[in-house]
């Protein structure tokens, strides 16, 4: 019967236009906050716009995903629809990979070309005549213009908290895989336990990262303004942290759905999608660990 099922096309939906209003207000609000702050003007109205947008987005997420979940639970989705979701999620994750690729690319360019050139090395080492006394090192602690960009006192080595975070995330990939197998085997308690463990590990990661950031800002003078090392460090780890947050929220939603009895051994795409996203977040961390912390 599943093969004969026609492809579900919803009739009308208010969620797209609500999502548009939400995203528009949110991003316009952020823009207004930044511009007004920079000009020394009041940001109160801008914050209101931002929060209004964020509320609309939250409402939309509940509503839209809610509809999808209800339709799925009602059996409206054929195998073909399931495949559409799989393609969709896979390509979405690919787009996220490319977003990180831009920042990794920037890091690569800076380390291999820009900083060495400024330091006098290579084809374009003539640049050094503009930056007397600047030496190219990595991590870059003394910037070409230390007055404009005071460098950090220290950087964060890989073998402290970052190593712990690596262990946490890699373990969490393991725990979610165990949870997945449990789901497929119909073992609900085991599923809940191992999914919960994954969430705990994710939250622990975020907590430790937050601590690391505070340590960097307050004790190490390692900030976004510390020159290119700080810029690339915080952009890469920061966006990664944002994605871990998103992934953790997705896992929590999955946990709540499992509590409500959703998902069967054969039919659990929402869980799989979240699991793929979680693995992606783990792989990005491993790249970060190697290219930002270690090498």
């Amino acid at each position: 019967m599943a093969q004969e099922q026609s492809y579900y096309v919803p009739e009308q939906s208010k969620w797209p236009i609500i999502a548009t209003v939400g995203l528009g207000l949110t991003l316009y609000g952020v823009g207004a906050i930044l511009v007004n702050a920079k000009q020394g003007e009041s940001t109160t109205l801008s914050w209101l716009v931002f929060f209004a947008g964020a509320l609309v987005m939250a409402y939309m997420l509940f509503g839209w995903f809610g509809s999808v979940i209800r339709e799925g639970q009602a059996g409206l989705y054929s195998d073909q629809m399931d495949r559409s979701f799989r393609w969709g999620m896979s390509w979405f994750i690919f787009s996220e990979v490319m977003f990180f690729a831009a920042f990794f690319g920037a890091l690569f360019y800076v380390r291999v070309f820009a900083v060495p050139w400024l330091g006098g090395e290579g084809d374009k080492g003539a640049a050094n005549m503009l930056w007397e006394g600047f030496q190219a090192t990595w991590p870059l602690v003394n910037n070409p213009n230390p007055e404009a960009y005071p460098g950090p006192k220290e950087i964060i080595g890989p073998w402290g908290l970052p190593l712990i975070n690596t262990i946490l995330l890699v373990s969490s990939s393991f725990t979610i895989t165990v949870a997945h197998h449990a789901l497929k085997a119909g073992k609900r308690q085991k599923l809940k336990l191992w999914l919960c463990a994954t969430i705990v590990l994710g939250v622990a990661f975020l907590t430790l990262q937050a601590e690391e950031y505070m340590h960097a800002y307050h004790e190490l003078d390692l900030t976004l303004q510390s020159g290119i090392y700080g810029s690339t460090f915080f952009m890469l780890t920061g966006f990664h942290g944002a994605h871990v947050t998103l992934g953790t929220l997705m896992l929590i939603v999955m946990f709540l759905r499992i509590q409500k009895g959703h998902f069967t051994g054969d039919n659990h795409f929402g869980f799989e999608a979240s699991s793929w996203y979680w693995h992606f977040v783990d792989v990005v961390w491993l790249c970060l660990f190697v290219f930002v912390y270690i090498i």
Binding site: E11, W15, L23, L34, S84, V110, G227
Partner: protein, 527 residues
Amino acid sequence: MSAVADTHSQEHHHGPASGITRWLFTTNHKDIGTMYLIFSFTMFLLGGSMAMVIRAELFQPGLQIVQPEFFNQMTTMHGLIMVFGAVMPAFVGLANWMLPLMIGAPDMALPRMNNWSFWLLPCAFLILVSTLFMQGGAPNFGWTFYAPLSTTYGPPSTTFFIFAIHIMGISSIMGAINVIATILNLRAPGMTLMKMPLFVWTWLITAFLLIAVMPVLAGVVTMMLMDIHFGTSFFDASGGGDPVLFQHVFWFFGHPEVYIMILPAFGAISHIVSAFSRKPLFGYASMVYAVGAIALLSFVVWAHHMFTVGVPLTGQLFFMYATMLIAVPTGVKVFNWVTTMFRGSLTFEAPMLFAVAFIVLFTIGGFSGLMLAIAPADFQYHDTYFVVAHFHYVLVPGAIFGIFASAYFWLPKWTGHMYDETLAKTHFWLSFVGMNLAFFPMHFLGLAGMPRRIPDYALQFADFNMVSSIGAFLFGATQILFLFIVVKCVRGGEPAPAKPWEGAEGLEWTVPSPAPYHTFSTPPKVE
């Protein structure tokens, strides 16, 4: 509610709702396609008005109409609106209308997300266009927004520009995901990949390019935002960064972007040339491989936009060779189109007129592109009107004529009426003359030494600038005729059969004209 069988689903479909909520809440690919097309034409007229301001100022040497600060806003916004508001949404509109019809699918794979992709665009452009009215004016640093002109020296509206780009990017990425899922998953049984119509192939590959590079654009505008507001130094040598880093990341997006703006036209032109030659497309397989090759190569040529920034010699040579290489698959496509026409049985209705003009004039744009690829010669062409001529040839008689050709080709299917052929031919000839008058002299201006993005120029450039402006005014005015033709066709005209074009082939021509609101609820079988 249990799973419904085939026959039920058709009866459960209603016709379109009424009123404005039909358009706000729709999930129907035809509705969404129509909205994209209307939006795109509106943006085309808006971006075109800015071009009229530019050409009016450049009509004669001296500053007559606008000051340099505003002129820079016009050139910037003209580029942004045409690229992101006119060309890209037009192709997405064509995709929405035609892809499900061509593959025998009931709709796009993810219909609600489809509508969100559309509505994000008016939202983004509301923000972008509102920057014209902000203190400090709109973005004024060129559509390529190089740092540090766009970071340290940009107006306050730059921040809003960045968020508008983010919104457009989200729209494009979701749209592209939808296209890929639709093409890979919803083809009628029997339609293997190598039986897909060319427009479907070109959109599949375009969608891949979009998903790969729009996030990179998001990355670069985010780095810009950080440099402007959070004291980072991505593009500031004082902190160990490099302004050229901006250019590398931007053009990594930017080069595939220009293929995103032309590949769908390649697909549509293949359909049109074949239909009006009454002959199958020559070399189907090579056409597919050529598009794939162009797409792959497009990722490794970006620095040909940067030949004068001081890329080291080895890099320069690599990018020159890779760029020259793209001429090979592109040439194959042109040869195949001409061979399709050769010994066919040709008629020259409006779609075919635009298609023939496309082949000739896009190829001229391709030739100037090949000249630009020769790195040492590019030192004399770069950032001059020669480049402006090149990209306007590939974009105007390229992408835009491709869109016009497609519109005339498919208007009968969309509306159920034949458009007015005499008026359409008039639109073609006036556009053809106007466009060539506007842009061919720009080759000469560039070779004679006129730089880009200047509001005033030395006297030896005066004559060709005047000719160019006249051509531009003619081209611009003619587009009002197109509006008239479309509105007239929507409202009435000779009733169109399911297949108004004798030589046309494909599933889209098996459904009635106008296409019913829901089509292919049951997928057809393809031989």
